[in-house]
């Protein structure tokens, strides 16, 4: 296991590359999901907001 992490002495390079990739892809995934969800929620919020005005 220690050998695996050490990557023949290049551990820092290999793992930092994979870590940055995981970070960037993870952020993209989160932002993409958020874009999909908030679009629907924002419109729903607008709709309910309008309704409140109508009843007032």
């Amino acid at each position: 296991m220690a050998e695996f992490l050490a990557m023949g002495g290049y551990g820092a390079y290999v793992w930092s590359s994979y870590a940055i990739t995981a970070l960037v892809l993870g952020i993209n995934a989160l932002l993409a999901r958020r874009a999909e969800r908030t679009a629907l929620q924002a419109l729903a919020h607008d709709l309910t907001g309008d309704d409140d005005d109508a009843t007032a």
Binding site: F4, S17, T21, A32, R33
Partner: protein, 251 residues
């Protein structure tokens, strides 16, 4: 034929059709990445010259491929948006830009990190890396232009024109390795030649490339679905959808 295409280009149809695609694409991405990472980090033998540092290739090369592939997708979407005025193409282009920029960034960063043990330096100004750097600026420029224009549709179409102007740069990037002798390794996989790397090293590379591709489609699709709702906010189908969502929120 165009009626068939137009049905799929219809935002409402696409939205309904694609409802389950995101989930499947995400699952495929996870499975492919697991398989590719295992192959790349565990199964593939260490390189004769570079030892284990070569394993960065499983991120670096697929990222570079994606940076170009996504740009071509954007150029295609841009052309469709400009010529046939298909809204879905506009939305796809805008959704793809941040993903393309991210992969370009990853290609550069992992290339730099890989370069340190390989060439002893954090950066070399060779044709391939430099062209990738230019590509990053193209992506940033497209996003900046789209952002600077207030109207969503005008912004998308202006970005489409800029994307197509930049696409001329892409062949220069792609063939730069052939045009100039550089420090950078020759292309590892070519359509016609036998690849110059061992098959056990090659398969995880291809798997990671496919995994990155499904990731792109999954993430872009999510953004596109959000964009569709914004574009069609005043149509009946969106109003019904939103109404149901609002009712669920209050129910």
């Amino acid at each position: 034929m165009f009626a068939f295409l137009h049905k799929y280009a219809s935002l409402m149809h696409f939205y309904r059709l694609s409802a389950r695609w995101s989930g499947w694409l995400a699952l495929a991405t996870a499975l492919l990445m697991a398989y590719g990472l295992y192959g790349g980090l565990v199964t593939a033998p260490a390189d004769y010259q570079q030892g284990d540092s070569f394993r960065i290739i499983y991120i670096h090369v697929p990222s570079a491929w994606m940076s170009l592939f996504i740009y071509m997708c954007m150029a295609g979407a841009g052309a469709v948006a400009l010529v046939w005025k298909i809204k879905l193409a506009e939305i796809w282009l805008r959704a793809s830009a941040p993903l393309g920029a991210s992969f370009t960034f990853l290609a550069l960063v992992t290339g730099s990190i890989w370069g340190k043990p390989m060439w002893g330096t954090w950066w070399v100004w060779d044709a391939r890396l430099t062209s990738e750097l230019i590509l990053l600026f193209l992506y940033v420029g497209i996003m900046a232009l789209d952002n600077a224009i207030e109207d969503r549709r005008t912004g998308a179409r202006a970005a489409a024109v800029l994307t197509l102007i930049g696409v001329v740069n892409i062949p220069i990037i792609h063939y730069s390795v052939e045009w100039w002798s550089t420090l950078h390794q020759g292309p590892t996989v070519s359509k016609l030649d036998r690849p110059s790397i061992h098959i056990d090293m090659l398969i995880p590379l291809l798997v990671m490339a496919i995994a990155f591709t499904t990731f792109y489609f999954a993430a872009a699709l999510a953004r596109v679905r959000g964009g569709i709702l914004a574009y069609d906010r005043n149509t009946n189908w969106v109003r019904e959808l939103v109404g149901r969502e609002a009712a669920r929120g209050h129910g």
